[in-house]
Amino acid sequence: MNIETFVKEFAEQFDEIPDEPFTADTLFKENEEWSSMTALLVIAMIDQSYSVRLTGDDVRKSLTINDIYTIVVSKANA
């Protein structure tokens, strides 16, 4: 598991390519496309790729892609 691959997989859940490419520090909720549906697709991607089930609270308290990644790493190692 590494952050570069994770950011790429995270970005693939968005239909539009943003003006500023996603990085670990991207505030993803500021993207126009962010919605409940995008959140769910991110959660599904993480479930499939990392066998980790995020909750709504995990997403709610995260601001950057790195915040999500940190939770995934923590749950994967639990």
Binding site: D15, K29, W34, S35, S36, M37, T38, A39, L40, L41, I43, A44, D47, R53, L54, T55, G56, D57, V59, R60
Partner: protein
């Protein structure tokens, strides 16, 4: 029959009434919210009239048009069950205010799915999704099976097995134990 209004997942669910017409029309004429649904005229009287006719279909148990609100009764979105035919129902007419952080439309979908299979005891839920609505297509394909397509839409159905998987997946996210 469903007891409404009901509180679930921090939201209130009830059936649409005539005085919801302005809220619904506001969403249906908002280009950002309604780009994947059929266009309508910005005509409040026509929307009220449509709801009046719908209430007659609701009284005959032919159709259910739901609205959900936050706990302060602020409306957030709508969805509809129609084409009721024996054990089969179609769900659609989804419209929701943007909810960047609350997963409200996912909570509403969990409610809707439970209503269909647990309270109204349907065995098959059908939907059609605009092909250009790529996220929604990906989401529904997690639990529904595609049954057909045309130039504009993809047609899918979900039976009880798909419902069970969907219910667990969404409950783990929304209401983890």
């Amino acid at each position: 029959m469903i007891q409404l209004p009901t509180h679930r997942y921090g939201l209130i669910f009830r059936l649409v009434e005539e005085n919801d017409a302005a809220f619904i029309l506001g969403m249906r004429t908002n280009p950002k919210l309604s780009r994947h649904v059929s266009p309508v005229e910005n005509d409040l009287d026509a929307q009220k009239s449509w709801i009046c006719n719908y209430k007659q279909r609701e009284a005959r148990a032919e159709e259910y048009y739901f609205l959900y609100t936050d706990m302060q009764n602020q409306p957030l979105g709508v969805f509809r069950l129609y084409n009721i035919d024996g054990a089969t129902v179609t769900s659609g007419s989804w419209l929701a205010e943007r909810d960047n952080n609350a997963l409200d439309s996912i909570k509403a979908d969990l409610f809707l799915t439970s209503i269909i299979f647990e309270e109204l005891n349907f065995e098959c839920c059908m939907i059609d999704v605009r092909k250009e609505n790529k996220k929604l297509v990906r989401y529904h394909k997690m639990f529904f099976t595609q049954t057909g397509e045309d130039e504009q839409n993809i047609y899918l159905e979900m039976r009880r097995e798909g419902y069970m998987r969907k219910h667990k997946f969404l409950t783990d996210i929304i209401d983890p134990k």
